[in-house]
């Protein structure tokens, strides 16, 4: 029979062992007070040398079998488009690319991510205020159900954390990659050296198609309303080491990328050299080196114990592989779980007030846990731009971050006038790694469907020598900006449960009007750049009508926001849980950070990097709390 095991008390209990927990664990364990820290994760420890070096080159096992990702029979999620629909459970992993694969084990989803790590600029943090100021009435006009909020801090408040995060995880890139950058032109002042920030490593080499994209950007006049005179193409900011590196300040050695192409992007391969930034190879080793840190693997956290008298989380309960229940008491709890699991454990445990949708704008007391679910990506199968380029080169199956690509940020944020446009925000646009994915993904790109059946000699002929193109298709999918709406949220599913009998999370979400409108506009702008590249047959795909979809290509965000106001957010600026309805002098000991926390609407498709500075700030907040418990001063 299984038994109940009481674990020794810890100063800090980290839920999960990915990007966010890894950083918080390392920071707190390294503190001079010798705080005792434990991180608990549902999966195993992955060692890149022994686990990935010979068996990762396996598209079927990685791409469909998801052999390094979370098993669906243990826990899935249900999804739907609107609050009146029945939500269907995600029953299987599919190919080509889909994003319902949660990470599994130390490092979490960083095993399979692409490594995109560009920062979110100032607009992203204050888009509600800036939009209302610059375009009065616009938000209501374009998205009447919007639930947009500002972040609690502005970009300057997060900038120092960005810088530290980039040194620890090891980013490569340049803030000044454009040949004709001048100080008088828009050059992302929020990224340049005036803040003292430099990426620790130089950018990756460029593919041929990226170089052509770069030249074309420089030669293409910007659209009407642009606040710049020419585009500023620069190498993709990546979390894959471009050279041997020792991270700062932890001193963990990092191997460089070998450009084998079996990387993130469409196939979601793990990294066999450890070049792709991941807690397991950047921060967890630093935590371990202190002697103050314990790592618990194969442990499924199913409850937090919330004490209503002291307004604190007192215990985390988890199952071990033998079915024993472990009770882990702690002074502070940090939730670094991925995505909707962070919300699910709060809802299961009664930590905070669940968001309840009542067919209209949130009323007073309608709760905030689960509110404001958004998506980092535009309709992947929706608006896109394609063309044919007279270009001979090797296809390169990795994603853009693993080398070779060029981005422009000029069409992000409010870098162009939105007065006459029916959306806010914009997108990062990049090109470089092309004909992406393994042969299965590339063949089935877009998915076999009634309009692309994959049957017969005509389809087959199109696959011949697709990896050795003398003319190649190029395309860009504008990742248009999502904004939170009050009918998009996370709650518990009333019908489906996990393997232990607890309700699954239920996601209610659909593409917003802002995304469709933004993508439609941006597609025409991208088409002009592709045409300048010399591409022929440039086509803008029509935006499909809204149908029940699985948000193909989604990267969910929001749903558990940090904010300025306890009534409409879950966490304060320190990522510390507000005490709703309690004396405000008492603070909870519950902190969290992750893609799911942040108020969304940002347009960099790298939620991890946007969440990274939050986790650093949470670590500072936790250290303050350990010295002097209570609600931290915002």
């Amino acid at each position: 029979m299984s038994s109940v095991i009481m674990e020794p008390h810890k100063d800090l209990v980290c839920l999960g062992a990915g990007f966010m927990s890894g950083l918080v664990a390392a920071e707190v364990a390294r503190d001079s007070h010798n705080y005792q820290v434990v991180a608990i994760t549902k999966g195993p420890w992955w060692d890149y040398v022994s686990d990935f070096s010979t068996t990762k080159y396996d598209e079927w096992g990685v791409g469909l079998g998801r052999k390094y990702d979370s098993p669906l029979p243990v826990q899935s999620t249900t999804i739907r488009n609107s609050p009146t629909q029945f939500a269907l459970p995600v029953r299987r992993y599919t190919m080509p690319i889909q994003y319902h694969a949660l990470g599994h084990g130390v490092g979490g989803a960083a095993q399979h991510y692409g490594g995109t790590m560009g920062r979110q600029g100032p607009w992203g943090y204050q888009q509600k205020t800036l939009t209302d100021t610059n375009y009065p009435g616009k938000l209501t006009n374009i998205q009447s159900n919007n639930d947009l909020q500002d972040w609690p801090l502005d970009y300057a408040g997060y900038e120092p954390y960005y810088h530290k995060w980039e040194l620890v995880y090891g980013l490569c890139g340049t803030n000044n990659g454009s040949p004709n950058d001048t100080s008088s032109d828009l050059n992302y002042p929020w990224m340049d050296s005036s803040y003292g920030s430099k990426y620790p490593m130089p950018p990756h080499p460029l593919t041929q198609v990226a170089q052509q994209f770069q030249s074309a950007c420089l030669a293409t006049p910007p659209p009407q309303g642009a606040k710049f005179t020419s585009y500023h193409p620069f190498p993709h900011v990546s979390s894959l080491a471009s050279q041997p590196y020792t991270n700062v300040p932890y001193g963990v050695p990092v191997n460089p990328c070998v450009y084998d192409g079996y990387c993130g992007g469409n196939c979601n391969y793990a990294c066999e050299t450890g070049a792709k930034a991941n807690a397991a190879y950047r921060t967890i080793p630093a935590a371990m080196a202190t002697g103050n840190f314990k790592l618990v693997t194969n442990a499924y956290i199913f409850r937090l114990v919330w004490d209503a008298t002291s307004h604190t989380v007192t215990e985390a309960h988890y199952y071990d592989a033998q079915g024993n229940v472990h009770i882990q008491p702690g002074t502070v709890f940090f939730n670094g779980m991925w995505g909707y699991n962070m919300i699910r454990i709060m809802l299961l445990s009664g930590v905070g007030v669940p968001y309840v949708f009542n067919s209209g704008p949130p009323q007073s007391g309608s709760g905030s846990v689960g509110r404001g679910l958004t998506n980092g990506y535009a309709p992947y199968t929706g608006t896109s731009v394609t063309g044919t380029l007279n270009l001979g080169a090797n296809s390169y199956s990795a994603g853009n971050a693993s080398g070779g690509s060029v981005d422009i940020y000029d069409l992000m944020d409010d870098n162009f006038d939105h007065t006459n446009l029916n959306f806010i925000g914009g997108a990062q646009i990049g090109l470089g790694g092309y004909a992406g994915g393994g042969p299965g993904n590339i063949t089935l790109a877009g998915g076999v469907s009634p309009s692309n059946t994959g049957v017969g000699g005509t389809f087959k002929a199109k696959q011949k020598d697709r990896y050795l193109p003398t003319t190649t298709g190029v395309g860009a999918t504008p990742f248009a900006p999502d904004i939170p709406t009050y009918d998009h949220y996370v709650d518990l599913d009333p019908h489906y449960t996990d393997i232990y009998g607890d309700p699954l999370s239920r996601l209610t979400y659909d593409w917003t009007d802002n995304m469709y409108n933004g993508a439609t506009y941006l597609a025409t702008v991208v088409a002009a750049i592709l045409t300048k590249m010399g591409a022929s047959n440039v086509k803008v795909a029509t935006t499909p009508p809204k149908v029940h979809n699985d948000w193909w290509g989604h990267h969910l965000r929001g749903g558990c926001r940090i904010g300025k106001d306890p009534a409409s957010s879950v966490f304060n600026s320190w990522n510390q849980h507000w005490l709703v309805g309690s004396p405000s002098t008492i603070g909870t000991n519950y902190f969290a950070a992750g893609e799911i926390t942040n108020t969304a609407g940002d347009t960099v498709p790298s939620g991890t990097h946007v969440a990274g500075p939050q986790s650093w700030r949470a670590a500072e907040g936790i250290k303050q709390y350990l010295m002097s418990p209570g609600l931290l001063t915002p």
Binding site: T381, T443, P450, G454, T497, P503
Partner: protein, 306 residues
Amino acid sequence: MSKTTRREFLKIGLAAAGGALAASGVEIPLFSAKDSSMQTQLNSANTQLINLQNQLKTVTGFLTLNVKEQALLEPIVETIIPSDSSGPGAKEAGVIYFIDRQLAGDYGQSANMFMDGPFAIPSSSPIVAPGIPTSKAYLALYPSAPTSMTYSGTVVPRVGSGINYQYPLNLRAFWKSGLEAVQNYAKSSTYGATFQKLSADKQLALLLDLWAGKPASFADDFGNIIRPVDFAYELSFMTWAGFTMDPLYGGNQNMVGWQYMGFNGVNLGNAYGEGLSQKDLMIATTPTRLKPASLAQYQQAANGGA
């Protein structure tokens, strides 16, 4: 086979060898310069050929597809990826063995799928789910919740998405029903013969029918109905997977799928001493066709310290 010369026979044997044999199959020096007589060389070649044939016999059987399914699935996959003037197809790649292995293993058992109820099959008409019971765990958390719930609204997931397959059948059972349903449709008045006996045009038309949602009643031998498009997806997806995945899975034999696509497999630039790095390939300005290498070859080279 009996009409072929010994040397032609040798080539055929090698070409048909399973993917796992590809490395030895193409690398064996059949006529070594050290051999003094033609007879010695022929003896040596014969021995190697017999060994290869014996190995081939051990990897080209079936684990789960029954005799009817074997006979039906073969022309189906060969219709999806025909062997034609553009190059080898599903037949040469051994796609049917890939599918058999998958259906016999975790894939067929739906081992990594979420298979708990309740089940609601997507359709183009609204799912007006009457009284779906609320879980005990949910009621424990929210005691005032109703004990069952009703919904409205159309639910039509994208074919091939993770929420599309909602059958309470594992994939092996689904394929059994699906293959029976294909044969029943072929024998119906629309086509009038077993799938195997239909002309190539009719075979192609039938598979496209499935994609178009036809026939309206797509049923197995016991009248169980599935959506034609769901099985059409499975057929196209698994056939192309069998053509493009690593030979270790039983398809893509001799890496013919990769060669057809110009994919280098796990040849990262120097598998056969080409002297290239993957970075060279990444920034190259002209396409570089390399002889593909399989995962097994890569591992053998890695284990050998190459």
